[in-house]
């Protein structure tokens, strides 16, 4: 089996006419990892993947794999496997024909082709499907065949372009686990493009958050999840509550006390602030605690506005006495109109640079 790559390094800019889709988007990563490009639609993540695959030329920049510059190579010479959002199976070929396609182009002996196709069908858990046509398969089965078709060539780098977004929710979770299993078992290097933060966090060793063609934050999933660098990443990672504040005082270990809208909020930060600076306090709905004593720090009185039943817990929007709105997830059942006390645990509140004050890392 051909070894997977040792390292990948690129820095690319892409313009379509006057529109810049990728602006100096660069990264350097070790091989053997699961890397995710995460961002909202239109952030350039798919374009970046297509440039790495060689399907779109970059306007400017370079792509290096294991010390070899590859951005001038045509896609068929790069030895990468790619899986597409809409599967892109060859509709006029059987499952066997689809998986064997790349091997046949390499003029492998028929016996070897048959054996390797067989192995792949077992790997994706669809043995016996050789003679079916893509049109006779479900979406999930088609995507498995598409994965098998790319993997059978032992690609040194796997590129996956939103491979699960056309599948229904249940199948998506199954296939997510499948992709993770195959990646780990075969020791692959994979780049995975998605707009779904749950997919990114659950699959990746390294997450790259993008916005408007620019890299915003890159790091292991825990870091992206716990320490977003700015409001954009925080919003993407599920911090739904944001409060505009001004820093009052700074303590050791990144302790911050800030005030805004008649509230005094304490929390933590990884950024450097000076007293008086604008800062955004952020907390996830599920970190907010319902209950507590309104006399203590970070505890506020609020009126419950809207309640959504989510089964194990409720999601509620509460209106703070100071006027702000707060998203809350709680197992304590609340009812609309009820007056409650909500507490924002200080170790769960993070302070981020205010928008427009140079928030990118």
């Amino acid at each position: 089996m051909k070894e997977t790559i040792e390292s990948l390094r690129f820095r690319i800019t892409k313009r379509f006419g006057t529109k810049t889709v990728l602006r100096d988007f660069g990264l350097e990563v070790r091989g053997g990892q699961f890397i995710t490009f995460l961002g909202p639609s239109g952030c350039g993540k798919s374009t970046a993947l297509n440039i790495i695959a060689g399907l779109i030329p970059a306007t400017d920049g370079e792509v290096w794999v294991d010390g070899e510059r590859i951005d001038r190579l045509p896609p068929e010479k790069r030895g990468f496997g790619m899986v597409f959002q809409n599967y892109a199976l060859f509709p006029h070929m059987t499952v066997f024909g689809n998986i064997a396609f790349g091997l046949q182009l390499q003029r492998r002996p028929a016996e070897e082709v048959r054996r390797r196709v067989q192995e792949m069908l077992e790997l994706v858990q669809l043995p016996g499907f050789e003679d079916r046509y893509p049109g006779q398969l479900s979406g999930g089965q088609q995507q498995r065949i598409a994965i098998a078709r790319a993997l059978v060539l032992h690609p040194r780098l796997m590129l996956l372009d939103e491979p699960l977004s056309n599948l229904d929710a249940k199948l998506r979770i199954e296939m997510r686990a499948e992709i993770k299993r195959i990646h780990a078992n075969l020791g692959l290097t994979s780049i995975y493009v998605t707009h779904d933060q749950v997919e990114a966090l659950s699959l990746s060793d390294w997450v790259v958050v993008m916005k408007d063609g620019v890299l915003i934050q890159a790091g292991p999933p825990q870091e992206i999840h716990d320490q977003p660098v700015n409001v954009f990443v925080a919003d993407f990672m599920g911090f739904r509550n944001f409060f505009q504040t001004q820093v009052v005082s700074l303590g050791p270990n990144g302790d911050v006390e800030a005030a805004g809208n008649g509230m005094t909020i304490r929390g933590k930060t990884r950024h450097t602030f000076t007293p008086g600076a604008a800062a955004v306090a952020a907390i996830r709905p599920d970190d907010v605690v319902v209950g507590g004593d309104s006399g203590t720090a970070n505890a506020f009185r609020a009126t419950v506005d809207i309640v959504e039943y989510l089964g194990r817990e409720d999601e509620a929007i509460v209106r703070l006495e100071s006027g702000g709105r707060l998203w809350v997830r709680t197992e304590a059942r609340v009812a609309p109109g009820e007056t409650v006390c909500v507490t924002l645990p200080p170790d769960r509140v993070i302070f981020l640079p205010a928008e427009g004050s140079g928030g990118t890392a």
């Binding site: 399907l55 896609p75 068929e76 597409f84 509709p91 006029h92 396609f101 046509y133 049109g135």
Partner: protein, 294 residues
């Protein structure tokens, strides 16, 4: 895709028939009746009482008449091949859009909007003995003598190409650009160079559309009439079967014989269509997805 047939009419079937009625009537009145009447007419020769195959026998025993079939094939077959091949070349290379695409498409499609007569006049003027084309080549010293490009076989071919290329090109462009680009992208990442992508992936997917293009262009070419008169030699080298039928009807005033010739022409066209459709059915695979119409 195969559909299950139940065999028993349902309410939906009756509704479908009711909805179909106006178009069915249209086809019956404007196509089936005249067609059948033509056949009927062709079997009642002017000089014979009652039904007879005399017109058909006359056609196939008169060399001046039956060689029009050969002439028409010699025009229609190469013209169809050239038109479809050129359309495929252009449409395939324009499938992902190109620079100045709208302008180029407009220029390619313009001849459709002009009509055959204006086109023929233009060709006569431009490619004629005293036309710009010959004058330019003579002036540059590339030619000793004018090329004879009109009032012969070449003239008709030129005219047919210009009429049919835009139509065929647009049809194939629509068909080819309807194929999901990620299909060819996936072939590239699997190691196929552009030529292999065309041969092994795109051509089989385009084939059904190509067959329809072949069929339509062939039928149009086989029925060629104005081009063959205006740019060819209506009594000689380009006396197509349509001209033969016209001559019988409006020069000899033998409607019966003219109908027989028209029926013969129709039989050849239908036979060619049948061959193409049979070939197409072999090309279209049992199950395909999301690629054009079938």
């Amino acid at each position: 895709m195969k559909r299950a047939r139940t065999g028993e009419p349902s309410e939906l079937d009756l509704l479908a028939i009711a909805c179909l009625a106006p178009s069915l009537l249209y086809v019956l009145v404007l196509f089936v009746y005249p067609f059948l009447y033509g056949i009927f007419l062709s079997l009642r020769p002017m000089k014979v009482d009652g039904f007879s195959l005399a017109n058909y026998i006359a056609f196939f025993s008169d060399e001046y008449q039956y060689k029009t079939v050969g002439i028409t094939f010699r025009l229609a077959v190469p013209n169809t091949l050239i038109v479809v091949a050129a359309s495929l070349l252009f449409a395939y290379n324009m499938r992902r859009g190109i620079w100045l695409e709208r302008t180029i498409t407009t220029i390619l499609v313009l001849p459709i909007s002009l009509g055959v007569i204006l086109l023929a006049q233009g060709i006569l003027g431009f490619y004629g003995g005293k036309g710009w084309f010959n004058q330019l080549l003579l002036g540059l010293g590339l030619l000793e003598d004018s090329l004879v490009l009109t009032h012969n076989f070449t003239g008709v071919m030129l005219s047919l190409f210009m009429q049919q290329f835009p139509f065929c090109f647009l049809m194939l462009l629509g068909y080819i650009s309807g194929i999901d680009p990620s299909i060819e992208n996936s072939a590239r990442t699997l190691g196929a160079n552009p030529w292999t992508v065309f041969r092994r992936v795109m051509l089989p997917l385009i084939a059904p559309g190509l067959a329809i293009a072949f069929a339509l262009v062939f039928v149009m070419s086989f029925a060629t009439f104005p081009s063959a008169i205006l740019l060819g030699q209506a009594t000689g080298a380009t006396r197509t079967i349509a001209i033969a039928a016209y001559a019988q009807a409006f020069e000899q005033f033998d409607m019966s014989y003219a109908s027989a010739i028209a029926v013969i022409m129709g039989i050849f066209q239908l036979a060619a269509l049948l061959v193409i459709i049979l070939l197409r059915r072999r090309m279209v695979m049992a199950a395909t997805m999301g690629v054009g119409k079938r």
